[in-house]
């Protein structure tokens, strides 16, 4: 039976998330946008503690399935949290201490023993981060073109190569007892099959953060370039099996996109909603009504813009919830995940850009957060697969074409 209402339990969690977003994130949002590369440690510690409490499993990177009792609507819950916390601040959300994409890779490709060994840390001690290193300077969305190599030398793997765009890379590699999951090839000739994930512990000799990017937005979140020079790691840091035949590893991580794309979509929606809520309140203060139901030929330009922003956001959310819900139901959602990501990324780019425009000189000023939301929003149109990549995936699925037939 079709229904669009979140269950009460989840709704009450959303209220908690909102309190965090409103009480802990918004107040420091502008400050850490301006003080790029500085870290809100107090916020980190608060979230680190909070992430042990109920409702923040996703943050803690804890995986109930591993413990045999999958939480109901885990993905939908994560999506709801992402929207709410990114309503607060997308950059801060991305920099909350947790296993992150590194943890996701461990969950997707690791053995039970490895999951235990590498993820336990996120339930104890000081704040920690996990990162995933896959993109390279020479390859954008083409994750199969990995040139970073791993060769066996006795009872170690030796990693060589350079990775860029590692979210929380610096926090994971240097600033905490975290780790970086780096994707490297055991045998270039084997193509994707030869690409495997390796866990590199923080401060492992040979791993260096060479650059932390200056960005358009989400400035508080560190985006690192990491080089690996003869970086030696124990054999059992290769996640899963070293068997080249078994394509497992890479397939698995590709599959994680089905879970992460709705989250990125939800991040966009959170930022878009922040802008929409602000504009709604602003217009109300100005006594400018939004007259739903009226003949479209009688609307003002501002009314129509606002309604359009509102419905675009709603559409993005519905597509996103559907993609997450399908995953929770154990259904394949690659098509729906890419639909949600493509639509949300674009819609919120336009919504935030329009919000800045509607506020005129005020919208352009850094005295308000609107301009920041426009800068922050854009990342969701780019990472976890650009809009174009996701459109390509949607096209392949609806046309039933392989990546060779439609490239």
């Amino acid at each position: 039976m079709i229904d669009f209402e979140l269950e009460p339990q989840l709704l009450s969690r959303v209220q908690t998330y909102h309190a965090v977003a409103d009480g802990l994130m918004r107040p420091i949002s502008r400050e850490y946008d301006e003080r790029e590369h500085e870290k809100p440690w107090k916020f980190f510690e608060t979230m680190w503690e909070a992430s042990r409490g109920p409702g923040f499993e996703a943050l803690a990177g804890r995986e109930k399935r591993a413990e045999g009792q999958p939480p109901r609507l885990a993905n939908l819950g994560t999506v709801a949290m992402a929207e709410e916390l990114c309503w607060g601040d997308a950059g801060l959300y991305l920099s909350i201490p947790n296993a992150g994409l590194g943890g996701a890779a461990v969950m997707a490709a690791g053995t039970p023993e490895q999951k235990e060994r590498f993820l336990t840390r996120f339930r104890e001690g000081k704040p920690k981060w996990g990162a995933m290193a896959i993109t390279e300077p020479g390859c954008g969305s083409d994750s199969a073109a990995v040139t970073t190599t791993a060769r066996r030398d006795g009872d170690h793997w030796v990693i060589n190569g350079t990775k860029i765009f590692c979210t929380a890379g610096q926090m994971s590699a240097e600033k905490s007892d975290g780790f970086v999951v780096v994707w490297a090839t055991l045998d270039r000739s084997a193509g994707r099959a030869g690409i495997k994930p390796f866990v590199v512990e923080h401060n492992t000799p040979g791993m260096t953060v060479t650059r932390v990017e200056n960005k358009l937005g989400i400035r508080v979140s560190d985006t690192a370039a990491i080089t690996f020079e003869d970086c030696r790691i124990p054999l059992d840091h290769l996640l899963g099996s070293p068997e080249i035949r078994r394509e497992g590893g890479f397939k698995d991580v590709m599959a994680t996109f089905d879970a992460t794309r709705p989250i990125v979509a939800a991040m966009a929606i959170g930022v878009g909603r922040a802008a929409l809520d602000f504009v709604r309140d602003f217009l109300k203060e100005q006594n400018i009504p939004i007259r739903y139901g009226l003949s479209p030929r009688k609307l003002t330009a501002v009314e129509r813009d606002f309604m359009d922003m509102e419905v675009q956001l709603k559409v993005a959310r519905l597509l996103t919830w559907r993609a997450a819900w399908m995953l929770d139901m154990g259904q394949r959602n690659s098509l729906e995940a890419s639909m949600a990501k493509a639509k949300a990324g674009l819609a919120v780019t336009l919504i935030t850009q329009k919000a800045v425009e509607l506020l005129g000189p005020l919208g352009y000023s850094r005295q308000l957060l609107l301009e920041k939301w426009m800068r922050d929003a854009k990342i969701n149109d780019i990472f976890e697969g650009t809009q174009q990549i996701n459109m390509l995936i949607v096209a392949r699925r609806i046309l039933n074409y392989s990546s060779k037939e439609l490239s």
Binding site: D3, V311, L319, M339, A342, M391
Partner: protein, 369 residues
């Protein structure tokens, strides 16, 4: 509890109507558009689906199924996938039956519902739209006023379906006193009533197979019993919401029809030695169409679920209608573009989908759930 899946019963309804739309309606669509006539046999067959009858109480000959806006949206989408004009014709009885079913007096229900408790088609009509560019449901020009023991109607309506065949037309009019939807009332007007003039059949760009008319009311006198819902009247805001969600659902059907035709064509059609669907420019157009269709449907279902919960849905149905009207135009226009020159000739249906789609930004009250 959140759920994106239709119930088994709804799936059954969908599949039944979808099969009918695919096998019976679509093949009749082009000739109906060219001749303006819908085969009686097809209408009869549709009657046997009991799409209106199902909601009529058993004591009036119906099946007494509970009405659901979501089920109604599913039916509207699937039929419109076959053909929009034929879908509107087939579902026209709902325009009279459902408002009476939901808001009519016992007497009105007893008088009017039995004719819809049968399988054979009973033409019925509702008069909502008015011939002005900024026609607005919140400020109707057709007005009713109290008059010694009855009501008097004055004004003009347009795009009234089946007005020439229907023996009763449900006319919506604003009050000469108040403004806004709250004051709009419905009136059950027998076709012969003095003061009514029904025009020649209208000619529109699309939905050509649907017979529509203009009607003018000049001091048209009606009895007390003519008012839908009697003294306490009807809830026009809800009726409007039900109508908009139905129209938006039909837009989804038209968009899907165009998308599927263009998709199949693009996989077949070769240029420069490869199917044109393998070109990103075409593939991305199709991907965008697919996303818009899912987006439209989700908006429709979300608005419909509010109606099924008897929540106010004016805003949701309005936004869904406007979004659908814009998207269906874009999708059908893209479909013509994908077919290129072949999309411009009437040998293929996409140009008809485009003409039908362009109507949604103006349509009001032409369907309901």
């Amino acid at each position: 509890m959140i759920n994106f899946e239709l119930s088994d019963e709804q799936k059954m309804i969908r599949d039944t109507v979808a099969a009918f739309a695919r096998d019976r309606v679509r093949p009749a669509a082009r000739p109906a558009d060219e001749t303006g006539a819908i085969p009686a046999a097809l209408v009869k067959m549709a009657g046997e689906l009991g799409l209106t009858r199902s909601a009529i109480p058993e004591r009036f000959g119906g099946y007494g199924d509970e009405r659901s806006a979501i089920s109604g949206a599913v039916v509207a989408e699937e039929l419109a996938f076959g053909d929009l004009a034929i879908a509107m014709h087939i579902l026209a009885p709902r325009l009279l039956a459902f408002p009476i079913l939901e808001m009519g007096t016992d007497d009105q229900r007893a008088r009017f519902l039995p004719r819809f408790g049968r399988d054979d088609f009973t033409p019925a009509a509702a008069a909502v739209m008015e011939p002005r560019f900024d026609f607005d449901l919140m400020a109707l020009d057709t007005l009713w006023r109290d008059d010694s023991g009855g009501y008097v109607l004055n004004g003009a309506k347009c795009v009234v379906p089946l007005a020439a065949e229907a023996d009763t037309i449900l006319v919506y009019a604003g009050s000469d006193k108040g403004a806004g939807m709250a004051d709009v009332q419905g009136f059950l007007v027998p076709r012969g009533t003095a003061g009514i003039a029904i025009s020649e059949r209208e000619k529109n760009m699309g939905i050509k197979a649907l017979a529509t008319y203009q009607i003018t009311f000049k001091d048209c006198r009606l009895s007390r019993e003519a008012r839908l819902g009697g003294e306490q009247g009807a809830n026009f805001t809800r009726l409007t919401s039900e109508s908009r969600v139905a129209l938006a659902a039909m837009a989804v059907g038209v968009a899907r029809a165009a998308f599927e035709y263009a998709r199949d064509y693009a996989k077949e059609r070769k240029a420069f030695g490869v199917p044109i669907a393998t070109k990103q420019a075409v593939a991305f157009m199709l991907a965008d169409m697919a996303i818009e269709i899912d987006a439209m449907r989700l908006l429709v279902w979300e608005a419909a679920s509010r109606l099924d919960k008897h929540e106010d849905a004016l805003k949701e149905t309005y936004l869904a209608r406007n979004y659908a009207a814009a998207s269906v135009l874009k999708v059908t226009d893209n479909a013509v573009q994908v077919l290129g020159g072949h999309g411009y000739i009437r040998e293929h249906p996409v140009e008809m989908f485009l003409r039908n789609a362009r109507g949604f930004s103006s349509f009001e009250g032409l369907a309901t759930v």
